[in-house]
């Protein structure tokens, strides 16, 4: 661990500030990823009882346990075991599900499109609604529009995802059956039916994020609108749209993108619950099912993949952040 910490120091090589910034961020992400994999690995080993027993699931004959021990090399040194685990994980081998007997990697590949579609739709909703409402609230300060946007945001933050899900199901699938409340149909198979089933989950998952984005956009816009450079823009005679859209919004987006990145973890958490409510065969459902069937190989694989994705997303957010803000991209005084 001390070794990895040493490599985390910024490099003194003559690279462009952007490149060296990126390298530093990538290095930090890799270290975090290694630590995460250690925690996941250790977590499964820390289970009370014999890991072979845990990995075996229902099949508990001494012969089966011995086979699992040999299979997983559980008699080896823990470091050797970890090395093998990582080696396998990198080549895409995450073990075999004790529940289905199928490779964990296959289950993950099957669940991924569902969760990705859900996340993408929610994110789209959150960004469009959140940024739109945030701008309105900032520009129409002290008017009913601001009050309405603030109230909606506060509600969005206070209403738990799963309850919103139930209420929407009650309203739009039972009382007024416009949308479907359960099951998944791939987009490629039947686009309208796919959307009919995905709208409610996306609204449920996106609402909290939209609220956070709205609040941050509003705060950042209020900041920008009172900034000196906005006064300069007005002094140039630019139209209201140019002043707000180009000068104020562009600066606000820097903050909003960061917040979006920080909130993606909540999106993943929310996906677990949303998929549970709407019976979508995604990542979240896979996780919960694994917990209840004591399918540790799957759980280990899912947690590792989710965390890796999360770290990757945060890295991408930082890159996006530096693309928007030239002060980071080009270095120099801030």
């Amino acid at each position: 661990m001390s070794l990895s910490l040493k490599t985390a120091r910024p490099v003194p090589v003559r690279l462009s500030p952007m490149t060296s910034y990126l390298l530093t961020r990538i290095r930090q992400s890799l270290i975090t990823l290694v630590l995460v994999s250690m925690v996941v690995f250790a977590g499964i080993r820390a289970l009370p009882g014999d890991p072979a027993l845990a990995l075996a699931g229902e099949e508990r004959s001494p012969a089966a346990l011995a086979a699992i021990r040999a299979d997983y090399g559980l008699d080896d040194n823990i470091a050797v075991q970890y090395g093998r685990f990582i080696g396998h994980a990198i080549t895409g081998d995450l073990g075999t599900s004790s529940r289905t007997g199928l490779p964990v990697a296959d289950a993950i590949t099957a669940a991924l499109p569902v969760t990705l579609e859900l996340a993408a739709l929610s994110l789209l909703l959150a960004v469009v609604v959140g940024i739109g409402a945030g701008i309105v609230a900032a520009v129409r300060r002290g008017r009913p529009e601001e009050w309405l946007a603030n109230a909606l945001a506060l509600l969005g933050l206070s209403v738990p995802t799963f309850w919103l899900g139930m209420v929407l199901v009650l309203g739009f699938a039972i009382a007024l059956p416009v949308f479907s409340a359960s099951g998944y149909v791939p987009f490629a198979a039947d686009p309208p039916d796919n959307l009919r089933r995905m709208v409610l989950p996306a609204v449920v998952l996106g609402s909290g994020l939209a609220a956070v984005v709205m609040r941050q956009t509003r705060a950042a816009m209020l900041d920008s609108l009172s900034a000196d450079y906005v006064r300069t823009a007005r002094a140039k005679g630019l139209s209201r749209r140019e002043v707000i859209g180009t000068h104020a919004l562009r600066n606000s987006l820097v903050t909003v993108v960061t917040v979006l990145g920080l909130q993606l973890g909540h999106l993943i958490s929310g996906a677990v619950v949303t998929e549970q409510i709407f019976v979508l065969p995604g990542f979240g459902k896979l996780t919960i099912d694994a917990v209840f069937t004591r399918d540790y190989a799957t759980l280990q694989g899912v947690v590792l993949c989710t965390s890796a994705a999360y770290i990757l997303i945060n890295l991408l957010v930082d890159v996006a952040y530096s693309l928007i803000d030239p002060r980071i991209r080009l270095g120099g005084a801030r």
């Binding site: 002094a235 005679g237 139209s239 000068h247």
Partner: protein
């Protein structure tokens, strides 16, 4: 003084500005009038909070919605006080432009300087993106930025404070405005950089014939740059005169006080306004009195009970054309007398 003979390009009459909040009203400017002739440099001088910046913002129409404006502001003969934001949008940046005190924060950090100069050209002159960029390079050269073709694609944080202020000037003069308001353009900059900025302003005035309203509290800058000076105190004009006359023969005790610091030899570093004993009063407290009376060595009962008018003193050469020597004082002074106690205000 031939400049002063022509029609004023900017004419402010009885300008009053007050700010209203739920609980009270603050008067920031009280019946201020001045004219600026084409190509003239008028310096507006006074302590912080005397209303000189508020006046400039009122002229630009950049005051917040809580501000209430009275009086008349005519730009090139056209009334612009109370104009709509849309009308002002067609004037600002084209006929009248402004440079601000804070070059470090007045440029948008996430846009290239070329884009920020180009914007104003595209808005008012309908140039294409390409034409605007080419013109931006020219303008950067005009304001004395080296290697303008490269600088045009840089971001504000890559430029020094002095360079940023030059960019602000380039934006301001891009559309060849008839009036340029410069609000403390050198205050935030190093002494060595200040001279360069003033030089650029001077040369632009000569080349483009732009009238400049120079707001400052640095009397050194006034002496070097201005044609005429307006001294403000607590939102009211107290004295106005051609620059040489004001320095040679200040008539208002407050002006005496201001000059005291400059005339005193051995002033440390910057020539700042001296701190005159007492507090700057709020206009609300004494509507019918000389606002300077509480701090004035020559004040008597009359000063405390009735407000002196802003009157032309002994006629001078430019009296007929707005270059008259005027002062608002019941007891105008004659000899340049120093205030009894003055010291450098370490702002």
């Amino acid at each position: 003084m031939s400049l002063a003979m022509s029609e004023p390009v900017l004419s402010v009459r009885d300008l009053s500005v007050s700010f209203c909040s739920d609980t009270r009203t603050v008067h920031a400017v009280d019946h201020l009038s001045y004219d600026v002739a084409p190509g003239e440099v008028l310096a507006v001088v006074g302590e912080s909070g005397c209303g000189k910046s508020v006046t400039a913002m009122a002229v630009m129409g950049l005051l917040p919605p809580t501000a209430r404006i009275g009086g008349s502001i005519r730009l090139g003969g056209r009334e612009i006080a109370g104009a709509s934001e849309k009308e002002l949008g067609r004037i600002r940046g084209k006929d009248i432009a402004m440079i601000f005190q804070e070059p470090m924060t007045s440029l948008n950090p996430v846009l290239t300087i070329g884009r920020q100069i180009g914007e104003v050209l595209r808005r008012h002159q309908g140039l294409s993106k390409k034409e605007a960029r080419a013109r931006a390079v020219e303008l950067l050269g005009l304001v004395g930025i080296p290697a303008p073709a490269q600088r045009v694609d840089e971001y504000p944080h890559q430029l020094s404070g002095g360079m940023r202020q030059r960019v602000m000037i380039a934006i301001a003069v891009a559309c060849d405005p008839s009036v340029l308001i410069a609000d403390e353009p050198t205050t935030a900059l190093d002494v060595t950089v200040q001279a360069g900025i003033l030089e650029v302003l001077q040369s632009l005035r000569e080349r483009l014939g732009t009238a400049i309203v120079l707001i400052t509290h640095d009397l050194g800058v006034v002496a070097d740059t201005a044609d005429r000076v307006l001294v403000m105190y607590a939102g009211r004009p107290v004295e106005q005169a051609p620059v040489d006359e004001l320095f040679a023969e200040p008539r208002h005790p407050y002006t005496h006080g201001l000059l005291g610091a400059v005339l005193r030899p051995g002033g440390e570093g910057k020539r700042r306004l001296p701190e005159i004993p007492g507090l700057v009063p709020s206009l609300d407290t004494q509507p019918e009195a000389c606002t300077f009376a509480p701090r004035c060595a020559h004040a008597d009962d009359r000063c405390a009970t009735s407000r002196p008018g802003f009157k032309t003193l002994a006629p001078n050469a430019g009296a007929a054309a707005g270059a008259a020597h005027r002062a608002a004082c019941w007891h105008p002074q004659h000899a340049p007398a120093l205030m009894p106690t003055t010291r450098e205000a370490g702002q």
